[in-house]
């Protein structure tokens, strides 16, 4: 099996290398792929993605470590490959990420409770939100930044400086005594607790395990990080991240996160590959065309890239 780990930043590269080493230890091939080396192609004979002359669809599985800045590019890669290669997240679910309003609503529609959320993109609308919610509020930006606002002045100042078409969400802040972060990999849930500045392993109650697994399965993702916030004798899903802080979980809990990750990637890839083969047989004419494109008989590689 050939696995590719696609990364977009320095932290991404470090994590990709660690994951690759762990996958190799399981006896499979694995390559870190810098998104900057990826060439996307669209033409009459379909679309394709390459990294250093290798068709990305030739990988059995592609794992994404996406970041907000390159969201659109990552989306385009997934869109191109996902019918033919097992990706760590399907195309339509990937769209929900880096978009707090969409993902919170998605979770709510599957009976995972959320609090009231407002979303807006311009100062004129922000004032309405402020009137409804009243200070203090907590604002969240697409890149995950969260800013508590206590005075009207800081609010106005912050809002007037935002880039156009940035979707901001506003909620009432909670003052929890602690937070729980879980790393979900397949059926495994690894939890940490954050109290003030200190982070420690967390003895996970079944509610958190169930909710973590539910989130991960609703999003059909290989892995994710779920951040919980205690609220009224229960836990709310406050955030879901597609690129978890693997190194942190390993450091805090002492669990061999990368080994768990590697075997999960391999088994998920195998399982989904089976479903895919069934699908591609039913689309065989296009399948053959795509294969010809991948190996360079038609399309851009015929022109020797």
């Amino acid at each position: 099996m050939k696995v590719g780990i696609i990364y977009f930043s320095k932290r991404g590269r470090e994590e990709a290398e660690r994951i690759c080493n762990a996958v190799k230890e399981e006896g499979e091939e694995c390559f870190p792929i810098d998104a900057k080396t990826i060439l996307l192609y669209a033409g009459e004979d379909d679309a394709a993605a390459f990294s250093q002359e290798n068709g990305l669809r030739s990988f059995d599985s592609l794992v994404f470590l996406p970041e907000e800045e390159y969201f659109e590019f990552a989306y385009m890669i997934i869109k191109i490959v996902y019918d033919y290669t097992v990706t760590s997240i399907p195309c339509e679910k990937f769209r929900l990420f880096f978009n707090r309003a969409l993902i919170q609503r998605f979770l709510a529609s599957h009976k995972l409770s959320v609090r009231k959320v407002y979303a807006f993109s311009e100062a004129t609308a922000a004032n309405f939100v402020l009137k409804e919610l009243k200070l203090p509020v907590i604002l969240q930006f697409p890149d995950g930044r969260r800013i508590p606002i206590k005075s009207e002045d800081t609010f106005t100042e912050l809002i007037s400086g935002i880039k156009r078409d940035t979707v901001i969400t506003a909620e009432k802040p909670l003052k929890p005594e602690f937070l729980v972060w879980t790393l979900v990999i397949g059926d495994e849930v690894i939890a940490c607790e954050k109290k003030g500045e200190s982070i420690s392993p967390f003895n996970t109650p079944s509610e958190i395990i169930e909710k973590s697994l539910k989130v991960s399965s609703l999003l059909s993702t290989f892995f994710c990080q779920v951040n919980f916030i205690p609220y009224r004798n229960s836990f709310l899903v406050n955030e879901v991240r597609l690129f978890p802080d693997f190194a942190l979980f390993e450091k805090i809990t002492g669990k061999n996160v990368y080994k768990i990750l590697a075997s999960s990637i391999i088994s998920k890839a195998k399982e989904r590959k089976k479903e895919m083969i069934k699908r591609s047989i039913s689309q065989s004419i296009n399948g053959i065309k795509r294969w010809l494109l991948e190996i360079g008989i038609i399309g851009p590689r015929r022109e020797k890239i």
């Binding site: 669209a42 659109e72 385009m76 978009n99 078409d165």
Partner: protein
């Protein structure tokens, strides 16, 4: 029947035309500036508010979403779709059509002919392509419109200097095969399953871009079967019941772009067809057939 028309704060020709025609078809028509809208939701309900008024109580929604409101507009349409409000375009089409490469991926996957196009984050990744491609080539801003951000390079050297600039501005590098054409393109306006209006745009002298905003002139054009077929398939591939499809003419025809926020002035003036009315009637039909 109540129609909510969503668009930029400043209403121009197209928005005014749609408003005028909509008032003849719907009992109530309200124009909502996207920038002033607020989304509110919890587990139980979803609202899109404008000064306390909930847009989701309208019978249909006609969005005009420019690039500058792409993300927020997409979000609003997702929520409206969840509430089953009739909308003539899919929320995804807002994201797909403003992003020129994503448009091409969708078209390629639907087997609609498009020029060969390459995209990467870095110029270096495209270097080998530059050696083998035919010149001139077309370079585009991923999110350009109205001809702005479309550039032509007659040699590898000039392509490289444009790419360097794109990279310096942190823009992805977009390179497209140049399709030989007599300085013209075809703008085909699709509503539902019909091509309702079509014009040919001729670039002004010394200009390769046929956009009206770049000085091009539009004239009525009788679309052939092939052009009609391409336009309908392109609109369908993107989930749009209202779309303006740009086609490059020639022996072989290519779709180069699909517009979710097309201007109506050029097409109405060139063809004399009341496109605004036809759009509104389509939306009315969607609203009354649920």
């Amino acid at each position: 029947m109540k129609l909510a028309l969503l668009g930029p704060e400043e209403r121009r020709y197209s928005e005014l035309r749609l408003l005028k025609e909509a008032k003849k078809v719907f009992e109530t028509v309200t124009y909502f500036p996207i920038s002033k809208l607020v989304l509110e939701f919890d587990e139980k309900e979803v609202k899109i508010l404008y000064r306390g008024k909930n847009i989701l109580e309208y019978d249909a929604l006609l969005p005009r979403i420019p690039k500058s409101y792409m993300k927020f507009g997409y979000l609003l349409l997702c929520f409206a779709r969840e509430q089953k409000i009739p909308i003539p375009i899919s929320p995804e089409s807002v994201l797909y059509t403003h992003n020129k490469f994503l448009t091409l991926i969708a078209l390629a996957q639907a087997n609609v002919p498009i020029p060969k196009t390459y995209l990467s984050l870095k110029r270096a990744t495209l270097e080998k392509i530059l050696e083998n491609i035919k010149y001139p080539v077309v370079l585009k801003l991923l999110y350009g419109c109205a001809g702005k951000g479309v550039m032509f390079a007659d040699s590898k050297q000039s392509a490289i200097s444009i790419m360097d600039m794109l990279e310096a501005f942190k823009q992805p590098v977009f390179v497209e095969e140049f399709i030989k054409n007599p300085g013209e393109d075809i703008r085909a306006f699709v509503i539902g399953e019909e091509l309702v209006a079509c014009m040919k745009r001729k670039a002004k002298k010394g200009e390769r871009r046929a956009n009206i905003a770049a000085g091009g002139v539009g004239e009525k054009y009788e679309a052939g079967d092939e052009e009609r077929d391409l336009a309908l398939r392109a609109a369908k591939a993107l989930g749009m019941k209202v779309a303006a499809v740009d086609i490059l003419p020639g022996k072989k025809k290519y779709v180069i772009e699909v517009n979710v926020y097309p201007g109506l002035k050029g097409i109405e003036n060139a063809t004399g067809i009341n496109v605004a009315r036809k759009i509104v009637e389509k939306v009315y039909e969607l609203a009354t057939s649920v």
